[in-house]
C-alpha cells in the first residue's frame, strides 16, 4: 500500500469562499435611512386653543389640490423652478417688501395638500421648500448645500455642531434666527 500523507485538499477553498461571498453580496441590504426629515407639531389637544393671528404677509402659502396642481400664493403655477428663489426672497426679506415676511422668525411657509394629492408631488414640493432653507443655512455657514446636509446629519462632531448653530443662527436663549417654519396643514377632503 502506498504511503499517503493525510491532507485536506484546499484547492476548492477559494471557490467555496466565493460562493459564500456571492450569497452575502446578494442578500445584503445597505441601510437606507435617508430622506426628508421633519418634526411634527405637538399633539392637537396640547396646543393653545386661543387663535394666534398671523399676518398675511408673513405667510407663504403653497397649496396642492387632488389633481396635483399647484397654487403658490394663490397663483396657479406649473413651473416649479422659480419657487426656491421666491421662498428665499420671502424668508430673507426683513421687511423690505411689505408683501413679504417681516423677518425669518415670523416667516411661515404654509403647505396645504388635499387628501387626494399624491405622495410623489408632496415630496417634490417639500424638497424645494427644504432646499431653500438649506441653501440659506449653507450660505451663512460658508459651505455648500451638500456639505450643510452632511453637517446636519452628524452633530456628534463639535465642529459640525458649531457650523450647524452658525447656519441656523442659534441665539443664547436657544431660539433660532432662521427657524425652518414649515407648517403642513391638515389636508382638505375634496379628493381621495
Amino acid at each position: 500500500m502506498a504511503r499517503t500523507t493525510p491532507e485536506i485538499p484546499n484547492a476548492s477553498m477559494a471557490d467555496i469562499a466565493f460562493l459564500l461571498l456571492t450569497f452575502f453580496l446578494v442578500t445584503t441590504t445597505i441601510a437606507n435611512d435617508r430622506g426628508l426629515s421633519l418634526i411634527l407639531p405637538p399633539p392637537p389637544e396640547a396646543q393653545q386653543t386661543e387663535e394666534i393671528k398671523i399676518q398675511e404677509h408673513n405667510m407663504f402659502k403653497i397649496q396642492l389640490n387632488s389633481s396635483d396642481a399647484l397654487l403658490v400664493e394663490g397663483e396657479y403655477t406649473e413651473d416649479v423652478s422659480g419657487l426656491k428663489d421666491q421662498l428665499k426672497e420671502f424668508v430673507l426679506n426683513y421687511g423690505k417688501n411689505p408683501n413679504l415676511s417681516d423677518n425669518p422668525v415670523k416667516a411661515i411657509v404654509s403647505f396645504k395638500t388635499d387628501r387626494g394629492t399624491t405622495h410623489k408631488r408632496f415630496i417634490e414640493i417639500l424638497n424645494i421648500v427644504q432646499s431653500a432653507y438649506n441653501d440659506i443655512y449653507a450660505e451663512r455657514a460658508g459651505v455648500n448645500n451638500a456639505r450643510w446636509r452632511e453637517i446636519a446629519s452628524d452633530l456628534q462632531d463639535p465642529e459640525n455642531e458649531r457650523l450647524y448653530d452658525l447656519g441656523r443662527g442659534k441665539k443664547v436663549d436657544g431660539s433660532l434666527e432662521i427657524p425652518m417654519n414649515i407648517s403642513i396643514a391638515e389636508p382638505t377632503k375634496i379628493g381621495g
Binding site: T28, G35, S37, H119, S131
Partner: protein, 154 residues
C-alpha cells in the same frame, strides 16, 4: 561583456496563493455588515426621489412604517399601513409606536424617529392620518424616506 544579462526564464505569474485570504476578508466584511431583512414588505415601495436628503446616524433609533398599495391583488386596492409583519389601521399606530418606544432605552426614547416609507402613488389622506396619530403618540420626529435624485435635474 554585457552587464545586463538577458533574463530568459522569468515566470510571469500572479501569485494566487493569497487569493482565499483576500476572498475570506471580503466575505467577513459582508457577513458583518449584512443585515437580513426581518420582515417581508407587502405593500408597494416605489420610493420617491428628492435632493435634500438627510441621513440618520443611529439605526437603532429608527422604526419603519410602510405605506402603499398592497402588492397582492386579493388584499384589495386601498392603501395599507404595514408595521413589522402585519397591516394595521391608522388608529392602531398609537399603540404600535408606544410599544416600539418601550423597547428603547429610557434616555433615548425622545430621539426615536419614525421612517415613513411611502409609495409615491399613495395619496396624502392616509399619510396625514398617520401623522396625526404620531403627533398624539408624541413621536414627532419623522423622516419621509426618499431616494437620491441627481442634483442637476432640479
Amino acid at each position: 561583456m554585457s552587464k545586463f544579462k538577458k533574463k530568459t526564464n522569468v515566470k510571469q505569474e500572479i501569485p494566487t496563493s493569497s487569493m482565499p485570504d483576500v476572498v475570506f476578508m471580503l466575505l467577513f466584511f459582508f457577513m458583518v455588515t449584512t443585515e437580513l431583512r426581518k420582515t417581508s414588505i407587502d405593500v408597494m415601495q416605489r420610493i420617491p426621489e428628492a435632493t435634500q436628503l438627510r441621513k440618520l446616524q443611529r439605526k437603532s433609533l429608527v422604526v419603519d412604517l410602510y405605506i402603499g398599495e398592497p402588492k397582492k391583488r386579493d388584499q384589495g386596492e386601498d392603501f395599507k399601513i404595514q408595521a413589522d409583519d402585519n397591516f394595521i389601521l391608522p388608529n392602531e399606530v398609537l399603540l404600535w409606536v408606544s410599544r416600539k418606544r418601550d423597547g428603547l432605552p429610557e434616555a433615548e426614547r425622545d430621539l426615536m424617529t419614525v421612517s415613513l416609507k411611502v409609495d409615491k402613488e399613495t395619496t396624502r389622506g392616509i399619510i396625514a392620518d398617520v401623522e396625526t396619530e404620531l403627533r398624539k403618540a408624541n413621536a414627532r420626529r419623522i423622516l419621509y424616506a426618499t431616494m437620491q435624485q441627481a442634483e442637476d435635474k432640479m
